[in-house]
């Protein structure tokens, strides 16, 4: 059971370091998916939004970390 727990914790840790980054990324993917499936958003536009969204999320995450360090 300890081995399974170690693997599980490592597995989760692989994806979540900055909780807000993971949450924003999942929210972005969910929003784009729903917009494509139910709101008739052009898939290619949705793909573009994914790229721009990823960049914005990364920028926010590193900026927030730096701001925190600066106090």
């Amino acid at each position: 059971m300890t081995i399974l727990r170690i693997i599980w914790e490592e597995f989760i840790g692989m994806f979540i370091d900055d909780g807000a980054l993971a949450l924003f990324a999942l929210a972005l993917i969910a929003a784009v998916s729903l917009a494509i499936k139910f709101a008739g958003l052009d898939p290619l536009t949705g793909g573009g939004l994914l790229l721009v969204g990823y960049l914005a999320i990364l920028a926010e995450s590193v900026h927030r970390f730096a701001a925190k360090k600066r106090g």
């Binding site: 081995i3 170690i6 784009v32 793909g47 994914l50 990823y54």
Partner: protein
């Protein structure tokens, strides 16, 4: 992108990502071998490899049951979280906000911890567990990378080949020099891997959502370039901000 380029980029991504992980695991196994006994180091490593093989044998057939589009979507999402985590850390390291990963320091710390345990009755067992955990934890990441990079295009064997080459190269070099591979530019490699994995992620998540990317697989290269430019700008901006912070007098 033609078939050759798809295969070579899969092998290359898997090789680079696995290389970094295996270097980290090797440092701990080496510390165990040199401080305790090589038997503890090899036993821990072998047991961890056994657990990893079981994981692959269980996960491999399960993945084949998942429809391709669903698989692309799920792998794309997980790879996005994984790749952005690496990219974020690499940007923060390159700009000086978090310390660079230092294999020699990791080796020193592990050696010190193992030396303290040497007098204990369970020293061999604890050393074996240290090797086991290091190989298992880094190995789980290698397994994920191989599956994620290879499964969506049916190239798991090629991705495994990349990981295998990395493994042979690290162990071969390590046995030759008999010390931690501190000269490997780990942080730069992690930045490149973060860029590659995030590029793959955007591509596959999009494909899973029905996006027909212009230029097909070549879109991955375009994402890589865009992400690289973004990272370079972010590193430069953060570096100057960090330099200003360092110059400010402490209150």
């Amino acid at each position: 992108m033609d078939n050759f380029t798809t295969i070579s980029s899969t092998i290359f991504t898997s090789f680079l990502a696995s290389f970094v992980e295996i270097v980290e695991a090797f440092t701990i196994v080496l510390a165990v071998g040199l401080t305790n006994t090589w038997r503890s180091a090899f036993t821990g490593t072998a047991l961890a490899l056994l657990v990893l093989i079981i994981m692959i044998l269980v996960l491999g057939p399960l993945l084949q049951l998942v429809p391709l589009t669903a698989l692309q979507f799920v792998v794309g999402v997980l790879l996005g979280l994984f790749g952005m985590r690496w990219l974020r850390k690499a940007i923060l390291r390159a700009s000086g906000f978090i310390p660079l990963h230092d294999e020699e320091k990791a080796f020193r710390e592990e050696t010190e911890a193992l030396s303290k345990q040497r007098g204990l009755g369970r020293a061999d067992y604890l050393a074996m567990i240290a090797a086991f955990k290091a190989v298992l934890l880094e190995g789980v990441e290698v397994v994920f990378i191989v599956i994620a990079v290879g499964s969506t295009h049916g190239l798991t064997l090629y991705a495994s080949l990349g990981a295998l080459i990395a493994c042979v190269l690290v162990i071969g070099t390590g046995l030759l020099v008999h010390k931690p591979l501190a000269r490997v530019p780990e942080n730069s490699l992690k930045l490149v891997v973060g860029l590659m994995l995030t590029s793959f992620s955007i591509f596959w998540t999009g494909e899973g959502l029905g996006v027909a990317w212009p230029g097909e697989d070549f879109a991955i290269v375009v994402f890589f370039v865009i992400l690289s430019v973004f990272s370079a700008i972010a590193i430069n901006l953060l570096k100057s901000s960090h330099a200003t912070l360092a110059k400010e007098p402490a209150l």
